[in-house]
Assembly symmetry: C2
């Protein structure tokens, strides 16, 4: 079945600031050749950061692509496509929230939008948080907030949280907690 | 706080087959102007399709962006950015699985990758499925499979399912079922 659709050429269209756009030339089983979009991303990591009181650290920030503020898990892109995502997760947790952790455990792996992009986001759970210092990137303006897990789950069903890594990470953590009880 | 980051120009770089790439000129609070990527998408819908036996209909297909097969919820893009996502969901369910439903209920709304893209995916739950006929788009080769909900949840923790709309939709449905018990 993998022989049915065949990529015969990948052509760089534009190098962007965090993604690159390619035009893929795809041969269909009937012999026709179509042009499909492909967006290359270096990958990222996100963190479900649990405080001693069992609350989750969330970040609120302005998102240009949606033209509004979003509430998300702490997260960020890898420095290079080779960086282990656990190192990326540890760094982004500290930079965005001002807390670090030496206890990060893999929760789930995500592909954000498989129809046109290879972006990978590995989601970790971090606990035993240690106060440190926020170190925001240029152009990053982030507000850190604490929430109960059940409150966040309700916000997902109320459409107040829509970011896919955040929805997936919170629901996976909720189910994991329920399974361990 | 919304005054801190200001978009002063949006410039079309490339029209693609399913997305368009823009370069946004962003003014930071310190006055610097940066160029950020923006990918425009027309929006999509996905369906948690529940059979009479309580199993979920899943679709397996080759994804060029990942260069491998994925197991996903039935889903697809809107015909136009104005199409109500519930109509899109009903159409994609029938086209991809060969089953239709007159009972679709909104579950969650997702933004797949907020750092650079406006893609929206509304996820619906469909039951009381009625046998119809698969009508695949050109270039679509889809295999329909049935799974238990708990098996799918385990596949998420085993990294066998990574697609973000699928992870989010399955976990949200699992939590909803647990809450209604």
């Amino acid at each position: 079945m993998s022989q049915e659709i065949k990529r015969i050429k990948r052509e760089l269209v534009q190098k962007g600031s965090i993604i690159d756009l390619y035009k893929d030339h795809i041969q269909l089983p009937d012999g026709q050749v179509k042009k499909w979009d492909f967006v290359k991303h270096k990958g990222a990591a996100a963190v479900v950061a649990v405080t001693q009181e069992g609350k989750l650290l969330m970040v609120r920030q302005y998102r240009n692509a949606l033209d509004r503020y979003t509430l998300e898990l702490p997260a960020g892109g890898r420095d290079t496509p080779e960086e282990p995502t656990i190192e990326c997760a540890a760094r982004e947790l500290e930079e965005e929230t001002g807390f670090r952790s030496e206890h990060l455990e893999h929760l789930i792996s995500l592909r954000t939008t498989v129809a046109f992009c290879d972006e990978l986001i590995d989601v970790y759970v971090a606990d035993r948080l240690i106060p440190s210092q926020q170190k925001l990137d240029e152009g990053e303006y982030i507000h850190v907030e604490e929430y109960d897990l059940d409150e966040l789950c309700q916000m997902i069903f109320d459409k107040k949280i829509q970011d896919s890594k955040t929805v997936s990470g919170i629901l996976a953590y909720k189910l994991k907690c329920a399974m361990e009880k």
